[in-house]
């Protein structure tokens, strides 16, 4: 009678753990499919850019990595808010699992940006608003990870990290609107919800497919990481003891 699907059930780590494990292969497979389709469209089919020649093809990873670096931060801030408001166990684990992937996305955004800037602007780096605020995002990720790692009491670590995440969220609109608010070397938004796209449709679709690939990849890796964090943090519970006993000697099922 009462066995209707209940989303809140999965807020308990013991219920979320097997669900996450079951979902990882699907997210990974979908990421590969989107990635191959995006690379095929972007690298093999899309035409040459009339201004930037073939160098523009960096866009197919630069934009997805930059989007994910901002989006992952927003998701972490969301979990931080939930954790601070409702004191849920899962939220701190989610934020912690997402942070390294977010940091890597921010790094990739800066790395590909430097490799794009050198041939187009003649410099690897400028202290302009877009680049500087993205660098601050990378530092926020690193700062969050260092802060959480430095505090032994897990609940205090989650609270301190959550506060840092919420304060730092002000940086996200600064990154996003920096190209509008200030005169920057960085070009304006490639994709806008209000204007029709200025790119060739194969370029646009290649970029969107790559963004989906990065998104699915991030979910898969974060789910892998959160499962380990769950075992670690919940090691004194019966479900983790049962799970550890069922796993082969030092191995994976």
């Amino acid at each position: 009678m009462t066995d209707r699907f209940n989303l809140y059930r999965y807020a308990a780590p013991s219920a979320f753990y097997p669900l996450a494990g079951a979902m990882i292969p699907y997210f990974a497979a979908v990421a590969v499919v989107f990635g191959l389709a995006g690379l095929w469209l972007g690298m093999l089919v899309a035409p040459t850019d009339f201004q930037q020649g073939e160098g523009y093809r960096i866009i197919f990873i630069h934009v997805p990595a930059s989007w994910m670096s901002m989006f992952i931060y927003l998701v972490m801030a969301f979990w931080a808010a939930i954790g601070l408001a409702f004191n849920t166990r899962l939220s701190g684990m989610m934020a912690q699992a997402l942070a390294p992937t977010g940091a890597l996305m921010a790094f990739l955004s800066l790395w590909t940006g430097a490799l794009w800037g050198k041939p187009m602007w003649g410099t690897w780096w400028v202290w302009d608003a877009r680049l500087t605020s993205e660098l601050i995002l990378l530092f926020l990720y690193i700062g969050y990870m260092a802060l959480v790692a430095a505090i032994d009491d897990q609940r205090r670590a989650d609270k301190a990290g959550g506060l840092l995440l919420l304060v730092g969220v002000v940086n996200i609109p600064i990154i996003y609107f920096s190209v509008k608010w200030w005169n920057t070397l960085h070009q304006g938004a490639s994709v806008s919800l209000t204007k029709s796209p200025s790119m060739a449709s194969t370029m646009l679709w290649g970029m969107l497919l790559m963004a989906m690939c990065f998104w699915m990849y991030s979910i898969a890796v974060a789910l892998m990481r959160v499962r380990t964090i769950m075992l670690e943090r919940e090691r004194h519970t019966d479900w983790v003891k049962a799970e550890l006993a069922s796993l082969g000697a030092g191995g994976e099922k």
Binding site: L44, V45, I61, P119, Y217, T228, R235, L244, E252
Partner: protein
């Protein structure tokens, strides 16, 4: 349909090869290494927790 006439043209990327492949190469490297690191960390964590669990149950038995 395919934009390129030859493989060497594809590799050259119109003179931007270093920048384009430098971007894609590092991205591919990170996306290959990160899941491996996470999986290795998981294995190590499981092994450590199992050792701790065994030690605890031994102590409880004594």
């Amino acid at each position: 349909m395919i934009h390129w006439n030859s493989f060497s043209e594809f590799l050259a990327m119109g003179g931007y090869g270093l920048y384009v492949w430098g971007s894609f190469g590092v991205t591919a490297l990170i996306m290959a290494i990160e899941p491996i690191m996470v999986a290795r960390n998981r294995k190590a964590t499981i092994a450590r927790l199992r050792r701790q669990l065994r030690a605890e149950s031994r102590n409880a038995a004594e």
